[in-house]
């Protein structure tokens, strides 16, 4: 098993660390960088609890050997807000009561953030389809979908 010195740029901060070739990015983020916002829910790309952004695209951290993420620009849920100022999606999730146990919520808001970067003017079907890889056992999704649409319209107004 090989060991590797890698650099991860996470939420604008540079981390240099040494990892074994079989360490997973999700576990490194959680256990080594203490960024526990990204969750384990399935480990096989089925639930979305571990969703992060690589640049502007959503990825599943449970599927990536940390060494393969060497040099990546990563945003985790902890990096979405600007200090205490939540991003529009995060705020909309609160405003629309889209949260229950909250375990899916980090992945959900990360994916939704990517969604709005890709398409600032989505319709309901687009949102539902985009969120299909993020599993939530609690809410039934309706309030989450409304949140994303709400965030989109607030962002448009703000422009």
């Amino acid at each position: 098993m090989s060991k590797h010195d890698i650099t991860l740029n996470v939420n604008g901060k540079k981390y240099e660390l040494t990892v074994n070739s079989n360490e997973l990015l999700l576990n490194v983020l959680r256990d080594k960088l203490f960024l526990t916002g990204s969750k384990y829910g399935c480990g096989i790309a089925e639930c979305g609890a571990c969703t992060i952004l690589k640049d502007d695209e959503s990825y599943f951290a449970c599927m990536v050997p940390a060494v393969a993420a060497d040099g990546w620009n990563i945003t985790t849920v902890e990096g979405l807000a600007d200090g205490d100022k939540l991003n529009p999606v995060q705020q909309a999730f609160i405003d629309n009561s889209a949260i229950q146990c909250g375990f899916c919520v980090p992945g959900m808001v990360v994916t939704s953030t990517a969604l709005l970067r890709e398409n600032p003017d989505p319709d309901e079907d687009f949102v539902k389809d985009y969120l299909r890889g993020n599993f939530c056992r609690c809410t039934g999704y309706v309030a989450m979908v409304k949140s994303v649409l709400d965030a989109a319209s607030k962002m448009k107004e703000a422009k």
Partner: protein, 294 residues
Amino acid sequence: MTTRILATEFDYLKPATLEEALKILSEKENVRILAGGTDVIVKMKVAGMTCDYLMDVKGIDSLDYAKLDDDGVFHIGALAKLSHLEKNPIVAERYPALKEAFHLMASISVRNMATMVGNICNASPVADSVVPCICYNAILTLASVRGQRTVPIEKFFLAPGVTVMEKDEMLIDVALPQPEANSGAAFIKKTRVRPDIAKISVGVRVVRDGDKANFCRIAMGAIAATPAYLEATSALVIGKKVTPELIAEVAAHAAAAIHPIDDNRTTAEYRVAIAEVLTKDALTEAWRNAGGEL
């Protein structure tokens, strides 16, 4: 089996060029190529896949492309991501059935990570991008230190997870010929819930000559050990006037031609039953997309 960690141990390699990668493949034993990893990592976690070397090919920038060549052939490189291809205007315009297949795969995050070439090399009987690629007569280019060769996609698969690729070879390029004028295609996939691998998928492409079809390819996923080109069924269409009666006959033929199995997703019986329905729908849609009337 554990999905929490990667329990297997391997050396990680990351070649920066194709030459380097091919050299590794020819010199080392038990090398596993890692592209998007959406099949490899799952198999390592749950299916006992092991390797001595995990070779990450994502550093080979020269393989990250999707472009037209001078002859109008569309080339997709080994690192082209599904989500990028899905948004590619040429795919949308020329290969709509392929675009549909991409869109129906997994979830956005998986498609951001996964490559089409990985989908092909994984050689699953359900591989969604393979079905339309068969319809579009895709040609695969395999490379090794020994040189390059091409294989039509329908000749690529031998068994689940097994292809004609030698262990020192890599699939580097998928070439899609320019579809003829008056051609139309369709792809339909049935799943349990939207983000799912197929219970069955059907792809159809026809080329229209007046009210007749002079070309037809019907392919199906998840009904045999490999994605299947239904050559005999397709032949029923060629040279014929396309009518609802013909379509019904072809659909029935397709259902009779397949011998699927029961699995966790559905039953053989259901596969046969809806193979007929989906063939009918896909052929109808492809014909209409080709400008045909019914």
